[in-house]
C-alpha cells in the first residue's frame, strides 16, 4: 500500500537564519514521566473542571537532550495533548514546538484554524527554530493537516512538513522507522476506549439541564405535598437514566445501534429505556406519557450532539440530521414537560 510513496527532499538550506543567536531561547524542558497529578488533572478536565487553565505556554521545549539533528515535533498547547506526546517519547531526544491553540487539542484547533499555517509559521520564527536544528523537517500530528497547508509552510519557512501518526502512542515507532507511518497509524479509529474517554464530557454537558429537571420535580412535589417527599427519587430516576443512556450507553453501543443517523440511534435506545421504565415504574397515563416524551427527547438530543465527539461525521450529514431531528426533539420535550407537570398537578 505504501509503494509509490514519494520521499520529498529536505535539503538542508544553509543560512536561512536571519535571527540573532541571542534572541533564541528554549522555553523549557519537559520530562516524559506522567505523575499522579497529571492523571488526576486529566480526569478533572474531562469532567469539565478547570478546563480553561489546562494549557501550557507555547514555545520550543526540550525532551531529553536534543541536538541540532534531533527531530522537531509540533503539537497543541492543551496539556492533555502535550502529556500524551511526552509520555510516548520516553528515552528519546527531541524538540517539541508547542503552538498557541488557546489550550485546545489538535483536532479541534485545526478545525478552527488555530492549529494552522499562520500560527506554525509565526511560532517557527518567534522561537528561532532554525537556529536550533540543522535539518529543515517538522513532524506534525496527522490530524493537524486540517488546519495546515504543508506547501505554504515550506514556502514561508523552508521547513518541510511530515505528517506523523494520528495517535501520539505511535510516535516513537514512526520516528524509529525513519518517519514512515504504516497505513494503520494513519487511520483514525473510534473503538470503545475512545468512546468511553469522550463520554464524561457529554454527561457533564447535561449537568445543568438535569439540575433544572430535578428542581422542577422538587417544586411539583412541594406544591402537592408542601414538602419534598421520598418519592422524588423515583420521579428523578427516569431522567438520570435518560442522561446516562444518551451520554454513556449510546456512545458505547454506537456501532451496533441501527441507522447511520445518530439521532435515530438515540431515539431507538430511548424507546428501549422507555419500555423498561413503563415495566418497572408504575405511572399514571399523563405522567407516564410526559416522562417518555422527555426521555426520548433527552436520549435523541444527547446522541445527536455526540456527533461532535466522533471522528467520522461530516458537516453536511449533521446539518441534515439537525434539520429534521431538532424540531421533533423540541416538540417532544415541550409536550413531555407539560404532560409530566400537568399530569401530577391536575
Amino acid at each position: 500500500m505504501n509503494q509509490g510513496r514519494c520521499e520529498c527532499g529536505d535539503k538542508p538550506q544553509g543560512d536561512s537564519t536571519q535571527a540573532t543567536e541571542q534572541s533564541a531561547r528554549v522555553t523549557g524542558t519537559l520530562n516524559t514521566t506522567i505523575t499522579w497529578r497529571d492523571v488526576l488533572g486529566g480526569w478533572g478536565v474531562r469532567w469539565g473542571f478547570r478546563r480553561m487553565r489546562y494549557l501550557i505556554a507555547p514555545g520550543l521545549y526540550r525532551i531529553g537532550q536534543p541536538d541540532s539533528n534531533s527531530p522537531v515535533l509540533v503539537t497543541a498547547n492543551y496539556k492533555l495533548t502535550v502529556d500524551a506526546v511526552r509520555r510516548s517519547l520516553i528515552g528519546l531526544n527531541v524538540w517539541m514546538l508547542v503552538l498557541d491553540t488557546k489550550g485546545v487539542n489538535v483536532w479541534c484547533a485545526a478545525g478552527k484554524g488555530t492549529f494552522g499555517t499562520k500560527e506554525l509559521v509565526r511560532r517557527i520564527e518567534v522561537t528561532n527554530l532554525a537556529n536550533f536544528v540543522q535539518h529543515r523537517r517538522l513532524v506534525l500530528p496527522q490530524l493537524g493537516a486540517v488546519g495546515v497547508a504543508a506547501h505554504d509552510v515550506k514556502n514561508a519557512t523552508g521547513f518541510f512538513v511530515h505528517y506523523g501518526p494520528v495517535r501520539a502512542a505511535d510516535i516513537s515507532a514512526y520516528l524509529a522507522a525513519g518517519m514512515r507511518a504504516t497505513p494503520a497509524m494513519r487511520r483514525v479509529t473510534f473503538d470503545w476506549k475512545d468512546r468511553l474517554t469522550v463520554a464524561p464530557m457529554e454527561i457533564a454537558g447535561a449537568f445543568k439541564p438535569t439540575l433544572i429537571i430535578i428542581a422542577t420535580l422538587a417544586l411539583v412535589d412541594i406544591i402537592r405535598h408542601h414538602r419534598v417527599t421520598s418519592h422524588l427519587a423515583i420521579d428523578v430516576a427516569p431522567f438520570l437514566a435518560a442522561v446516562l443512556t444518551g451520554g454513556l450507553l449510546v456512545p458505547l453501543l454506537l456501532p451496533w445501534l441501527p441507522s447511520r443517523s445518530f439521532a435515530l440511534k438515540g431515539a431507538v435506545t430511548g424507546l428501549l429505556l422507555a419500555a423498561l421504565l413503563l415495566l418497572f415504574l408504575p405511572m399514571r397515563i399523563a405522567e407516564g406519557a410526559g416522562t417518555i416524551l422527555l426521555v426520548l427527547a433527552i436520549t435523541t438530543y444527547m446522541a445527536m450532539v455526540f456527533t461532535g465527539a466522533t471522528t467520522f461525521t461530516s458537516l453536511a450529514g449533521v446539518r441534515v440530521e439537525v434539520r429534521w431531528a431538532l424540531p421533533l426533539i423540541l416538540v417532544s420535550a415541550g409536550a413531555g414537560a407539560i404532560l409530566r407537570v400537568a399530569g401530577v398537578l391536575i
Partner: protein
Amino acid sequence: MRYLLNGHSLNLVPELCNGCCRCEEVCPHGVFSLVQRKAEIVNRDGCMECGACRMNCATNAISVISGVGCAQLVINSMRRKNGAGVPCECK
C-alpha cells in the same frame, strides 16, 4: 462506522494531480490511494469532509465543502442570525 452523506462534496480533478501523495498521507479515513502516480478516490463513503486533503493539495486538484461535523456547533450557529463565526466551546 459510516455516516450520512459522507463524501458527497468531495471532488478530484485527476488532470491537476501531480502525484505528490499528500492527500493519501493526510486522510484519516484512507479515502485516497495513488495509482500510477495519480490520486484516486477509493473510499468515498469514508470521507468525513474534514478538508485536510484539499488544504494540502498544492495544485488544487481536490475540492470539498468542509466543516466540523458537530451537531452542537450547527445548532449554535442556527441560533445566531448570521451563522458564521460561532465559536465552539469544545476542547
